[in-house]
Subunit: 206 residues, 2 copies
Amino acid sequence: MNDRPAAASQPADTASRILDVAEGLAQTRGFNGFSYADIAAVLGIRKASLHHHFPTKAELGRALLERYAVAFGEALKAIDSDGGDAYDKLVRYVQLYDQVMVRDRLCLCGMLAAEYSTLPRPMQEAVRRFFEENERWLTKLVEEGRRGGSLRPGAPARDVARVLISALEGAMLLARSYEDPSRFSAVVQPMLADLRPGTLRKKRRK
Amino acid sequence: MNDRPAAASQPADTASRILDVAEGLAQTRGFNGFSYADIAAVLGIRKASLHHHFPTKAELGRALLERYAVAFGEALKAIDSDGGDAYDKLVRYVQLYDQVMVRDRLCLCGMLAAEYSTLPRPMQEAVRRFFEENERWLTKLVEEGRRGGSLRPGAPARDVARVLISALEGAMLLARSYEDPSRFSAVVQPMLADLRPGTLRKKRRK
DNA sequence: GTGAGACTACCTACTGGTAGGTAGTGGCCA
DNA sequence: TGGCCACTACCTACCAGTAGGTAGTCTCAC
């Protein structure tokens, strides 16, 4: 979830800095909750300069989602390659969300999902792709965990994946309304415990 | 979830009609996603007339939430008094959300939770109260179900309640992004099944 | 000397909100 | 029974501020 290295630790090019600010605003106030003027004020440049880099807000939003998806994809790849069993990987996946939470932000796509009907088409499609990607990755993970014995899903892997994503997104939403990030893990921990074999229950046919 | 009876089936007073339209817009586009002009256009009256009934948008929002909370509270009371075991009641609770989904809407408070940081204080507090109320009701229900044997929660009742609300709100968000309301029940059914005793698993200590 | 990236200076459309006015209704009392 | 008052519900016409966006100019490193 990092920006590119850029030779040394340069202050990053303007386009990236614009995206950084826009991302923060979008994750706290929503895509309709900020304006070019807001970004310009933070960066100390003029609105017109923003239009030089991102001609329209729709284009800015598209770029925002593209970068976000790439970063998220890389984070997933990192989890994949770092080893550990499926349960460990699931914990690391959840940490991805937690890292967003503690910065008082919402998952970008969770936020945009709420605003869905007001978004330009390309952004709608990008939001959907993001969730599909997550669902695919999680489904594979749950399947892997079932085979390896590190997870004990109580339903088909894809259903479990969907429940997880829904609960994660919902928990972020709720935790922020309570202005209490710890609520997030309070929701997530029971779910993880429930997926872990040999903690409380054991599977059995009726 | 009904308006007052009002003698016969009058077309409802203007204030209620304003709230009806505002509610629909807030649930589909968000509170920041509509303007007084939008409402006025739908109702065929002037913006200024809206201000006559609701001086500020903040006041309109407050009234919206108040009415919504009352209606929801009544719906919960109806579930309580209609009998059935805790599992049945939980199913009816979920149906409340489903009824919103099929109209292509989001739970009003779920939507407002996303916009939380941009809302006037009184609205923020009302959103939080709504979730607290739901959590309280659900916790009691899960407890009742555990005692009566119609539910088999895998965690403390309050945790289960929180997971349920989170997943429900998240599932609505996601289902709308997929433009497929049926996704909602695809998430909810496994959760309900998991809470139902004697279907797949049986509790056991390690 | 050219082109990327910033600027000044604007535009149009729309935001929430206000000022001031009018038509109609119901009560009340002389 | 007619006239006045207070009230509700709406109106037209406007306000300042902000939204996203554009045209044209300056600057300076390559």
